[in-house]
């Protein structure tokens, strides 16, 4: 694992500073320990890495390109912009990186049933895909609101042979789908592996998902060296739970590269309808982890909003909370409207239709680029493609 020097988190207790940990019902402690033991064993096993690398290359299509964004660069007329093309992964987003790694883990653990939560449906599709390939039963929990706004992905999951279980509790979005997946796991712990889709939940998940996703950053490091002979000045990625951001940030910790996470500002962070957890949240305990959390004065989790189902989440990965406090990365937010405009911009300047999640990272360029000089290099992670969002985008743009 490529890891920067002087950075050795999580610690033995699964903590990133004061964040992270294992705040779960007792039933889950034993399977989490089994998962951690198996992961640590496989992580030391070159054969496991060979197998995963081969899948990444031959099944998923890695390495994904680092594309010089000439049109976008000319548009801002400042620093040079490169795009990391996770939208070109098999299934259309970075989520497959983690799904492939975890399905190998599940097989080694002897599990026969896979469950997962999904928001935008990209993780659900990735899990349904690897379950089809490896012949495991697959059940995807998805909030009813998300089933409505990401109907194409629901159909893809069904076509891949997965069962999509609608979740009608709470805000009927990603948070509630995650609650239901955890409840399923508590109940069916013997034969079931839970493939969490982001760097969230109890230890060891944030670590495992980060490590599987850090293939993104490892490739970027090599690709930018080849293209420019040096590291970039900025790396920009969207943050919901934060897996694509951690994946691209991780190999660049303490390397002098400015790491910028962009959260979903929804209708605006002066309203109550946003997902700017790191910007406006405070320390809480939620879904197995201690992390920044959007919550009311009484510690009840807030009902949040983003136009992007994948970012529509009141918590955030505990490592991002640590990055924020330690100023390893900086976090900002952009609104729904800004993300929609960025979708249009990238489509028309580069011929790339980004997922609404990734569009948040693009949208932040409006703020960042005026600060840059022509010599500087900016890399944006295009974590997924926008096909799944066409209905939402069409409704917003009205043409």
């Amino acid at each position: 694992m490529s890891q920067s020097t002087n950075y050795n988190f999580p610690d033995d207790n699964g903590r990133f500073g004061k964040y992270g940990g294992k705040f779960v019902p007792e039933t889950l402690i034993t399977p989490l320990q089994e998962l951690e033991n198996m992961y640590n064993e496989l992580n030391e096993d070159p054969q496991f890495h060979d197998e995963l690398n081969k899948l990444n290359k031959e099944y998923s299509g890695r390495p994904t390109p680092l594309t010089f964004a000439e049109g976008l660069t000319n548009y801002f007329n400042r620093g040079k912009i490169y795009l990391k093309r996770e939208d070109l992964c098999h299934t259309g987003a970075h989520k497959i990186n983690n799904a492939l790694g975890q399905i190998l883990l599940a097989k080694k653990l002897g599990k026969t049933r896979i469950i997962a939560e999904t928001g935008a449906g990209q993780h659900g599709v990735a899990v349904a895909t690897v379950c089809a390939k490896f012949g495991l039963k697959c059940f995807i929990y998805m909030g009813e609101v998300d089933i409505e706004r990401q109907s194409l992905n629901v159909f893809r999951m069904k076509l891949l042979g997965a069962e999509v279980i609608p979740v009608s509790s709470g805000s009927k979005t990603l948070k509630d789908a995650t609650n239901e997946a955890i409840r399923d796991w508590v109940t069916n712990v013997k034969d079931t592996h839970y493939i969490i889709g982001s760097v969230v939940g109890p230890h060891p998940y944030p670590m495992i998902v980060r490590n599987f996703q850090s293939v993104i950053g490892i490739e970027v490091k090599e690709q930018i060296q080849k293209a420019e002979g040096r590291l970039p000045d900025y790396i920009v990625a969207c943050v919901g739970g934060g897996s694509n951001a951690i994946g691209i940030f991780f190999p660049f910790i303490n390397s002098g590269v400015k790491l910028i996470g962009v959260e979903a500002g929804g209708y605006g962070i002066n309203t109550s309808k946003h997902c700017a957890t790191l910007t406006l949240g405070r320390e809480g305990i939620f879904q197995g982890m201690k992390t920044y959390l959007l919550q009311n004065d009484e510690g009840q989790v807030s009902e949040v909003h983003s136009i992007s189902a994948g970012l529509d989440y009141p918590g955030v990965g505990p490592e991002h909370s640590f990055f924020k406090d330690e100023i390893i990365a900086d976090y900002f937010s952009v609104t729904d409207d800004e993300a929609i405009r960025a979708t249009e911009l990238l489509s028309q300047k580069e011929g790339i239709i980004p997922a609404l999640e990734s569009a948040h990272a693009i949208a932040y360029l409006d703020y960042l680029m005026p600060e840059t000089t022509k010599e500087e290099i900016i890399i944006v992670n295009v974590s997924g493609r926008g096909d799944k969002d066409l209905n939402t985008i069409k409704n917003s743009l009205g043409y």
Partner: protein
């Protein structure tokens, strides 16, 4: 000394088993909740576990999720829960326990929670999403004078049972099935094997068995292997459909108690 442990041990001396009943604070109705609680104690409950609601109750099945949601809608928060407990305490000497998730407690403030709990007459707390791995860091000495009751489940190894028994005070909450609250018993023999295994290992605490116990027969089946039982979802479910006198629920409590003593 633990008031809860003493109370259960006193009962054990006369071969009596404890019946602990879970109620969600302010459910089904905030104004009549204290009256309901006292009636349940009078109908045979030996202890009450008063649940304070959380928006995302991970360890709970649909029934207690629903009651939590109603409680939040009824304006129940920790402050209101302490007020209700204080009034129940005026009417009973029996042990009172508060149960709920870590985040509302953290948000309220650890010291403030402990002080307000003690002054309201609470004897112990159960926080199901704080396992022993997080115990020291979370409680951090703030809860002196309150029992912290820990849970074990069928997936808990023998070594862990021992470690959890060491840390737990009041009693050991033995979750009889892997699942959320309200889970169905798939086969009592597996649950009983687990409880027997626990009894061989857990030396410090009394064991109370919960999850999947819903009627007199269940109570009778588990009674010989523990010092008491905990009933939650079955009571909440009964309250959902009951009339204003709660007559069916009070009958259920009496039946459960009867199951324990026969």
């Amino acid at each position: 000394m633990s008031i809860i442990a003493d109370y259960i041990s006193q009962k054990s001396k006369t071969n009596e088993k404890a019946l602990s009943v879970f109620l969600t604070a302010g459910f089904p109705n905030k104004d009549s909740f204290v009256d309901l609680a006292i009636k349940i104690l009078d109908s045979g409950a030996d202890m009450l576990e008063i649940g304070f609601p959380f928006s995302d109750p991970l360890a709970d099945g649909p029934v207690i999720q629903h009651s939590s949601q109603i409680a939040i809608e009824n304006g129940i928060n920790l402050k209101e829960t302490f007020n209700l407990v204080r009034k129940i305490r005026e009417g009973t000497e029996k042990p009172l326990i508060m149960m709920g998730y870590a985040n509302p407690v953290l948000s309220y403030g650890m010291n403030k929670f402990a002080n307000d709990a003690k002054s309201a007459g609470v004897n112990g707390v159960i926080i199901p999403d704080v396992p022993i791995e997080e115990y020291d860091n979370f409680f951090n000495g703030h809860f002196v004078g309150l029992d912290t009751i820990l849970l074990i489940t069928p997936t808990t190894s023998n070594d862990r049972i021992k470690a959890i028994d060491e840390k737990s005070s009041g009693f050991l909450y033995c979750v009889s099935v892997s699942g959320t609250t309200g889970a169905q018993q798939k086969g009592k023999s597996a649950s009983l094997d687990f409880i027997k295994r626990t009894n061989l290992i857990a030396k410090k605490n009394n064991t109370l068995v919960g999850f999947g116990i819903s009627n007199e027969n269940d109570a009778r089946a588990f009674a010989p292997y523990c010092q008491g039982i905990i009933v939650g979802s079955a009571v909440i479910k009964s309250l959902m459909n009951d009339d204003k006198s709660y007559s069916n629920t009070l009958k259920l409590i009496a039946a459960l108690k009867k199951g324990l003593s026969s």
